[in-house]
Symmetry: D2
Subunit: 163 residues, 4 copies
């Protein structure tokens, strides 16, 4: 099996409910991700960067993500990312010509609200990456998995589809 680096950038996947003010916030500690990964994945490392809703991710943030991937010795990478700009980030990374195998995933509903969806997406990304031989940038969401330019979010349906 590959030794996988999971880069947690925030997004809905990591949102928690704050009962003190009644709102959802992006938890930057990756507690949700570790809950899943420690039990249902093996041979991985997690790092947290950016920690934002994907609508707030800037070009500067994407540069940081690209640099992180360039500098790590890992060749197999999962990125947990907000859904709204997942395709944009995927394309940015593709243009970076990284010669690594990268799968982006996330969740439409926070792990803290529905642990099943976040788990399903992360584990299908993980399974896919473990059998993957080719370099490239892929997306795995809601059972739809493929090259980043063949999978995208349909905002009306609220789910990812084959393009």
């Amino acid at each position: 099996m590959h030794n996988i680096l999971i880069i947690n950038t925030g997004g809905t996947f990591n949102k928690n409910y704050d009962p003190l003010n009644g709102t959802l916030f992006v938890d930057t500690t990756s507690k949700s991700l570790e809950n899943i990964a420690s039990k249902w994945l093996c041979e991985f490392e997690i790092i947290n960067i950016i920690g934002k809703d994907s609508l707030d991710i800037t070009t500067h943030d994407r540069m940081e993500l690209l640099a992180t991937i360039s500098h790590t010795h890992h060749e197999h990478i999962i990125i947990v990312h907000g859904t709204d700009t997942m395709s944009l980030t995927a394309e940015y990374l593709f243009d970076g010509e990284l010669e690594k195998s990268i799968v982006l995933t996330g969740a439409m509903v926070p792990y803290s609200i529905d642990p099943v969806e976040a788990t399903a997406n992360l584990c299908s990304a993980y399974g896919y990456l473990n059998a993957l031989k080719e370099e490239g940038v892929y997306i795995a969401m809601n059972g739809v998995i493929g090259n980043h330019d063949k999978v995208g979010k349909n905002k009306k349906l609220g789910k990812f589809i084959h393009l």
Copy 2:
């Protein structure tokens, strides 16, 4: 993506609690499996055969499973199976020289008790199978994924490990 056939043979994955007599039983309707698959997988079919705890699976049951796989047009197959004899069934299928890509999975705890584990295992099997190029018989459990003779249940730990 591959069009996947999911063959549900029963096992802990499908156990439900019966409050009338206080025991767990194998639900042969695949309701648990459909709950996950309808939301978190795509391009699949489900069939139910055998419907047993894996300790009760006989050679005759394994012949039925082998025949089912031989006769289907599907080349990519997930088998949901009890954990105690998963490796035995995998070996039996391997000896059948099927020239298909087969991943066995299941759960240590019923979906009805912990939906997260069953989802994690099924989705990692699904992700793996979608990127898989080689024929063979594989096992995906608890984040440990690989050739069927390299992955097995450690009964003391109550989980699957690399052999």
Copy 3:
């Protein structure tokens, strides 16, 4: 047992997550409440009025609530209400001199995020009201139950305490 009227006014108890825009909204259909009540209560009716976060409840809304209670033949009433102004509404109803037994309850975390807290609060209010002999206005939250002027929300702790 008493025949109880449950008046659902909204609040955090009824908030659902909308994956299309990533926000929580007050579901005015009382689906959450019916999920609990249909299974764990008996001899009750539910009506939905107001349907607001309690910070948005106006004097006009409280007049509507008071009128609803005055006009019903029920003498035992549970009010599901947002937590921020629960005490204010309780005092308003107390001043209305209704000669009925009224228990206000709600949740700090939406039923859709944590079904256990909402269930605990509703069921303790329900149990309390069933044994109650006196008229009055009471609050039942987080295991703290008593006369409305003896129980209140501590906003720093994010829970209700004895005053």
Copy 4:
């Protein structure tokens, strides 16, 4: 509010799944009960005695329960008990003429499988006991609450009803 003693005697409420042998067992540590009580009740103590499925409770066990209630200074008591012989134990305690307020409760489905039912029953018993003025032995199950001789388990329906 009353200072309540919760006597945990076992039963389905406390059953956990053991993945090593695939069976349910009565957890005698009251972890499930403490999970609920620490968050959703206040002013209570818990003790564990007997620790059995209620079909296995003997007259000797009931004598121990009666003695425990006689000797405690608490006057308000919740008993968590298996459902099959809950009425039998209630009658035994009633015959003991204890001059205390006692509510028996439990669950049809283990807390570990469905935390909502166990929470609903415990919290309705707790609410009821807090408003109760009379001595006596009561049962609170599935929203049906009343004197122990007016509430009983219907084994065909798998729930408690008014007798």
